[in-house]
Symmetry: C2
Amino acid sequence: MKKAQFDPDKAVAGTSYPPPHDEPCRGRRTWPLTRQYGLTQFGFNRVELQPGAWSTQRHWHKTNDEIVIVVSGELVLVTDDGEEVLGPGDCVAFRMNDPNAHHFQNRSDQPAVFFDIGGRDLWDVSTFPDAGFQAKPRVEIHFRPIKP
Amino acid sequence: MKKAQFDPDKAVAGTSYPPPHDEPCRGRRTWPLTRQYGLTQFGFNRVELQPGAWSTQRHWHKTNDEIVIVVSGELVLVTDDGEEVLGPGDCVAFRMNDPNAHHFQNRSDQPAVFFDIGGRDLWDVSTFPDAGFQAKPRVEIHFRPIKP
């Protein structure tokens, strides 16, 4: 079967944000699908947000485009321009280097599910203006023996 | 408003396949969203398939990854491995250079809607084994005066 399976045991809970900024996203579960399909040009995740949960801290990416597609439930998109509601079948995209930070809040009483697709530039910097931090990948080189 | 709007007047009908291979896709309408959002790292489209319509001729990409996310209706995915049914919230990905051609058929009596995300490598070659052709981008250089 090629269709993705969303095993509850394979979901990643919450975020790695430094406390207390991880709190609002504790009701988030992520199914990472990129590696499962062997993709290399962009990353994609299925995300489930419980009532009250945020998708992320509000942020923007320096060198990565991003797309969000809602498949069920209701989400409030928050940007510098204000708020709008997205439901099943809605989508929105955020081009790289646009310093208009965004995130999604589930203010409803039902879970919401969306897919997130993003660029994979390792030199990206994410800026979180409300939380007051930036994030960037740390790259480490590992060595392993060549198998004869 | 940042959420995408799907104006029926802005949809692109059908495909540019050489006849008669365009026939099965006449019931397809595509909303191209990449340029609208100024994205450069990947392309994305919203696609609506009328009952009986195919998404494409069955194909695979040499150098572009692809993702399909279904938001409404029912689609039959056809690959060399056989058939499976996808509904709202389902997704599937096809990594580059995997010569297992795919497409989607709407065999239901209702329209189906999905999003398609794909790499933008201009050196990609798409192979359509059933239709018996390949497709690749033709690049032309245009010149224009520098505006002082």
